[in-house]
Amino acid sequence: MRVLVGVKRVIDYAVKVRVKADKTGVVKDNVKHSMNPFDEIALEEAVRLKEKKIAKEVVAVSCGPTASQETLRTALAMGADKAIHVEVDAATAEKMEPIHVAKILAKLIEKEKFDLVILGKQAIDDDANQTGQMLAGFLDWPQAMFASKIEPDGSTHLKVTREIDGGLDTIKVKLPAVISADLRLNEPRYATLPNIMKAKKKPLEKKTPADFGVEIKPQTETVEVSDPPVRQAGIMVDDVQSLVSKLREKGAIP
C-alpha cells in the first residue's frame, strides 16, 4: 500500500499570533513556523502503518512557498520515504485555498498510484477542514474524517473510528480512501538525530501547480483581519473598604 500524507507549514501552535497594522492579515515575518500539528499526527500514523508492514511506502507532499521544504525535511526525518514540494511564490501562497490543494493532490494521485491518503483534519491557520473532503469528492473515493483509530479490515478495507459530536463513530471504508487525522489518533514521534541525518539523503521532488494543470485563482477575498475585542482591564483596590465601595458604585451590591 502506498500512502500519501499532506503536510502544511503553519505558524507554530505556541506562538502568539499578531494582526498586521494594516489589517490585511497576520504577522508572519520572523515568526516561528512548524508543521501543522494535525499533519504531524497524520504522518505519524502513516509511518506506523509502514512499521506494521501494512503500508509499503509513505510519501509526504506540501503545497507552499520555499520554506515548506523545511516541513518536508521534518516529515522525512519522521519516517516518510520521499517528499514532493509543490512550490508557489509567497504571494500566491497567501491566496491558495483548500480547493486548489485538493485539485493538485487529486491530479498527483491520478498520476502516481496511491492507496491511501491521510491529511490532518484542518490547518491551525485557516481552520478550514475542507481539503480532505474535497479531495475525496474529486477522486470519488470513500472518506473517513476525524479519525481517532485506524485498523486494517482484511486487505481491501479499513476500519476507522471517528470522533464526532455525539461520541465515536466506527465505519468500514473500502480502499483507496481519504482519511483525516484527529487529535487522539496518536502521539507523534520526535525527529531523532540519526533519522534527521538519514533524511538528508531521501529524495525531495520539486513541482509547480502548473505541472498538475491547476491555476491558483482564489474564490474568496479577505476583506479584513482584526483582533477579537480587547478584554477590559480590571482595577486593583488597596483594601476591603475600597472593594466594597467600588462594588456598590457598579451596582453589584446594594
Binding site: K32, P37, Y190, A191, T192, P194, D239
Partner: protein
C-alpha cells in the same frame, strides 16, 4: 532539615516531614536555639503609628494572617515571627522607613519576591519585613541601546513580557520568574539558564539606586545608566549578590538583550561525562555565539522524573547523561544550518548515542519541562538535601560519584542536574525522611570536598542562613575580616538582615 543540624548535631527534636505547607514550618528560632536575638529594639505602637503616617494604613500589615506569607520562605524551611510588614511605594518612603529604623535600632529584613532558597528573605525573630513589591511603577526602556531603568519591585516575567513588545528580553531566566522581583534577583546575584550566553548580572547592571540603613536613610545613586562610565568606583557591583546585607535596592538600570527570532532545542544522550565535556567544547566551537543554554540531567534525574511525575525522556535510547542544548539567534536558516552541522558531528564522532531535535515550540517546551520539573519531582521522594555547587568541569560529576559511594543505601536517590555549561551542579540527595546518619555522612563532607577541589558551595543561590556556617570555607581570616568591615561601613548599627550570611 539541614539548618538545624548546622548548629547542633546531637538533638533530633525536629519533625522533618516534607514541609510544603507554610503553616507547619517550625519557627526558625526553635530550629536554631543557639542563635540569639540581637540587641535590637522591639516594635512599639508608636513605631507602627509612625509607619502608618509615612506609608498610609494600606502600607502597614499587622494582622497575623496577612503577615504569615512574609514570615515563611518558599521551601517552607524557615519561619520567622515578624509582627509587622511594610509596603513602601517610593524610594522616599523606603528612605524614611530606614531612617526611623536606624534611629530606633529596629532590625529589618528587606524582602523581594521571597523565592530565595537559602532563607535570606524571611525574618528569624521579629525583624520588620520591608517588602519591595509595591515599588513597581517605573518602567523606562530605550530600545536602541537596550537600556532598562525600572523599579526594583517589578516581577521578572512581567519585565520580560513588556520588553517583548520591543523585541527584547531580560538577560536572565529562572524557574521562579513568575514570582521573583528584579531587585531580589540583583541582591541574590541570580544566575539561571541563560547565563551561559548572556553572562551574569554583573554583565548587565549599569546602575542601582540603593537606600542605606544609616541615620539619614541615604539614597545612594550608584552610577549613571550608561554602558561606559569610569569616573568612580563601580559600587553597584558590590550590591549584586549582597543578600540585603548592605542596602535596599530600589531601582535598577540594566541592559536587556534582543529577543531571538530563532530558538532551537535539542537533547543529546551521552554515555560518559567525558563525552559531555567534549560535546560542550564542540558546542562552543561550532555553535559559537548562538549557544544559549547547555544543561545536563543524569540518568537518575530521568528515572526520578518518570517515577514521580510520569514524565518520560524524549530520548528513546537510555543514556547516562542527557544534555539539553538550546541555541538562540536572529536567523532561523543560519542557526539550523549550524545546529545540524554540530549534531551531525556529535553523532559521527560517537560522542552522542542518541539525540532528538524539537521541531515545534511545543516540543521544545516539553524538552525544557523535563529540566524545569526536576526540582519538583524530587520533592515527592519525601526529604531532599539540596545543593548548588560550582566546580571545575573535570570534577563536576566526581562529586556525585563520591557522594553516591559515601551514602550508599542510606539515600533513596543521588541525582545531579544543572547548568553544566557554567560548571554549576545541583546535586540532590533524597530519602523518604530525614535521617541524622545520612546528614552526618553528607556534611561537612560535601562542602569540604567542594572547597578542596576548587569549587564554590553556592554558585547562584547565595548564603543566607542555610550556608552561613560553611561560608568561611576556603576563605582567609583576612578576607572574612574585610567582609565584616564592609558590612559595618554600610550598616553601622547592623540592623539590615541580621543573623545571615556573615558571622558578625
Amino acid at each position: 532539615m539541614m539548618i538545624g543540624r548546622l548548629t547542633q548535631r546531637a538533638s533530633c527534636a525536629l519533625r522533618i516531614e516534607a514541609r510544603r505547607c507554610k503553616s507547619t514550618a517550625p519557627l526558625t528560632s526553635t530550629q536554631l536555639p543557639n542563635l540569639k536575638r540581637g540587641d535590637y529594639s522591639s516594635l512599639t505602637d508608636a513605631d507602627v503609628q509612625h509607619f502608618e503616617r509615612l506609608l498610609g494604613a494600606g502600607g502597614v500589615l499587622r494582622d497575623e494572617t496577612d503577615i504569615a506569607p512574609y514570615n515563611t520562605d518558599w521551601m517552607s524551611w524557615y519561619r520567622g515571627r515578624s509582627r509587622c510588614v511594610l509596603l513602601p511605594r517610593t524610594v522616599e518612603e523606603v528612605s524614611a522607613v530606614m531612617k526611623h529604623c536606624f534611629d530606633r535600632r529596629l532590625a529589618v529584613v528587606p524582602q523581594s519576591g521571597n523565592t530565595g532558597l537559602v532563607g535570606a528573605s524571611v525574618p528569624v525573630f521579629d525583624e520588620i519585613v520591608v517588602s519591595m513589591r509595591r515599588l513597581n511603577k517605573r518602567f523606562d526602556f530605550d530600545p536602541i541601546p537596550g537600556i532598562l531603568q525600572c523599579d526594583a519591585g517589578l516581577v521578572l516575567e512581567e519585565l520580560d513580557t513588556r520588553l517583548g513588545e520591543f523585541g527584547y528580553m531580560m538577560p536572565l531566566d529562572l524557574g521562579a520568574k513568575g514570582s521573583c522581583l528584579i531587585g531580589g534577583n540583583v541582591a541574590t546575584g541570580a544566575g539561571g539558564v541563560r547565563l551561559l550566553r548572556y553572562g551574569s548580572l554583573h554583565a548587565h547592571v549599569l546602575a542601582l539606586e540603593v537606600v542605606l540603613p544609616d541615620k539619614d536613610g541615604t539614597v545612594l545613586e550608584c552610577g549613571p545608566a550608561l554602558r561606559k562610565d569610569n569616573t568612580g568606583f563601580h559600587e553597584s557591583h558590590l550590591f549584586i549578590g549582597s543578600e540585603g546585607q548592605l542596602g535596599l535596592i530600589t531601582q535598577v538600570a540594566m541592559t536587556a538583550v534582543p529577543k531571538p527570532n530563532s530558538v532551537q532545542v535539542a537533547m543529546l544522550g551521552c554515555d560518559s561525562f567525558l563525552d559531555c565535556c567534549k560535546v560542550l567544547g564542540d558546542a562552543k566551537r561550532l555553535l559559537g555565539e548562538i549557544l544559549s543554554s547547555f544543561e545536563m540531567m543524569d540518568s537518575e534525574t530521568m528515572r526520578c522524573l518518570k517515577e514521580n511525575h510520569g514524565r518520560h525522556n524524549v530520548l528513546s535510547t537510555p543514556a547516562a547523561f542527557n544534555l539539553l542544548i538550546e541555541t538562540s539567534g536572529s536567523s532561523q536558516e543560519h542557526d539550523q544550518a549550524k545546529l545540524n552541522k554540530f549534531l551531525e558531528s556529535c553523532l559521527e564522532k560517537g560522542l552522542a548515542v542518541d539525540g532528538v531535535l524539537a521541531t515545534s515550540v511545543e516540543q521544545a517546551n516539553t524538552f525544557w519541562a523535563l529540566r524545569e520539573n526536576a526540582t519538583l519531582a524530587l520533592m515527592d521522594d519525601g526529604y531532599v538535601f539540596k545543593h548548588d555547587i560550582s566546580l571545575p568541569l573535570k570534577h563536576y560529576y566526581r562529586l556525585t560519584e563520591a557522594v553516591r559511594e559515601r551514602v550508599g543505601s542510606l539515600a533513596k536517590r543521588v541525582i545531579t542536574y544543572g547548568h553544566v555549561g557554567d560548571g554549576n551542579t545541583h546535586l540532590n540527595v533524597t530519602a523518604s525522611e530525614f535521617s541524622q546518619e545520612l546528614y552526618d555522612r553528607l556534611y561537612p563532607f560535601v562542602y569540604e570536598w567542594t572547597t578542596q577541589h576548587g569549587g564554590s558551595i553556592s554558585a547562584e543561590h547565595g548564603v543566607g542562613l542555610l550556608k552561613k556556617r560553611y561560608m568561611p570555607l576556603g576563605k582567609s581570616p583576612a578576607h572574612l575580616a574585610q567582609y565584616g568591615r564592609l558590612k559595618r561601613f554600610y550598616d553601622p548599627r547592623l540592623i539590615l538582615n541580621p543573623y545571615k550570611m556573615l558571622t558578625m
